[in-house]
């Protein structure tokens, strides 16, 4: 089972995402931003970090990388894609997911252990959670405020596409406490917090990030 992890210049959590995939039992394949080739992987993680320094807008420049020329059509065709933090921003900039992520309302970078509720489990990345399961994983971002117009937000809610919501206080001003969303089909998920930092005993606040990675492995096997 091969899961690609894209490295853009300025990606930071690519190493962690690859480790998480391996700990979940998959094979991590490093994909380079400059090559429009997905190397036959069964799923892709767009990792956290500051691609191109997040200059201009987070994710705005990475969206035009050659690898995205291959990834965007593949995602539209059903390839499971998880965008974590900066990856979520890239997915929004690429219009694979609606909305945008803006500067935290308190204007500071924030790193803390964050409680979430998993609200959609029929996605490629959340099948191993129970409906409405509450988990605590790492949150760290400077531009994590999820924004969309009311119509889009209503649509996301109506279609059950809010994958995860913040509990215990909104950490960044996201509309309706949204921490993660999916496309209609559920193969593309964007998540602001970092499950890849919560997969190994002794490192990070727990192991509650691991199901994201086991979910996709199971889903790909059964597909």
């Amino acid at each position: 089972m091969k899961v690609g992890v894209v490295t853009f210049p300025g990606s930071l959590d690519d190493h962690d995402a690859a480790r998480a995939i391996e700990l979940a039992g998959g094979e991590a394949v490093h994909l380079w931003h400059g090559t429009a080739d997905l190397q036959g992987v069964d799923a892709v993680v767009l990792p956290g970090g500051f691609s191109y320094g997040d200059y201009l807008r987070a994710g705005a420049i990475a969206r035009f990388a050659p690898v995205m020329d291959a990834l965007i059509p593949a995602a539209k065709g059903g390839l499971p894609v998880l965008g974590i933090c900066n990856g979520f921003q890239v997915l929004c900039e690429s219009h694979l997911l609606p909305g945008a992520l803006v500067r935290n309302d308190h204007q500071k970078f924030i790193c803390r252990d964050q409680k979430l509720r998993i609200e959609r489990i029929n996605t490629a990345w959340t099948g191993d959670f129970a409906q409405d399961e509450e988990i605590t994983i790492v949150l760290k971002n400077g531009e994590g405020g999820y924004m969309a117009d009311e119509r889009t937000l209503d649509l996301l809610e109506a279609e059950g596409r809010v994958v995860a919501r913040y509990l215990g206080g909104n950490p960044n001003g996201s509309r309706r406490e949204i921490a993660g969303i999916s496309n209609e089909a559920g193969n593309v998920v964007g998540l602001m917090p970092h499950p890849e930092h919560c997969v190994e005993p002794g490192f990070g606040p727990g192991l509650e990030g691991l199901p994201f990675f086991t979910s996709v492995l199971r889903q790909v096997v059964s597909a």
Partner: protein, 92 residues
């Protein structure tokens, strides 16, 4: 050598935390006549030659595809820095 100026502002309906922070700070500086502040971006793009219509068209393309995100921002102006600024607040 010519320069194109591109102005991008957060959409009116989008919360602008930076602008809000500025309002608060202005109040503390006793500059409370300013009731609302919004913070956007201003780009200057240099070209080797003159700012021709083609250059402006290219700049407009850059403004729409890269320099702004239409979900949260509006391009409010794309113009020759040196030209008389009639209609400057007009991106069309």
């Amino acid at each position: 050598m010519g320069t194109v100026v591109v102005d991008v502002m957060p959409k009116q309906e989008i919360l602008d935390p930076q602008g809000q922070a500025v309002v608060g700070a202005l109040r503390r500086l006793n500059l409370s006549q300013f009731t609302d502040v919004r913070q956007g971006k201003r780009f200057t793009l240099e070209v080797a030659g003159d700012v021709t219509d083609e250059v402006l068209a290219a700049a407009r393309e850059a403004a729409e595809t890269l320099l702004s995100n239409p979900v949260i921002e509006d391009v409010v102006s794309v113009r020759d820095a040196d030209a008389a600024a009639a209609g400057q607040e007009d991106a069309s």
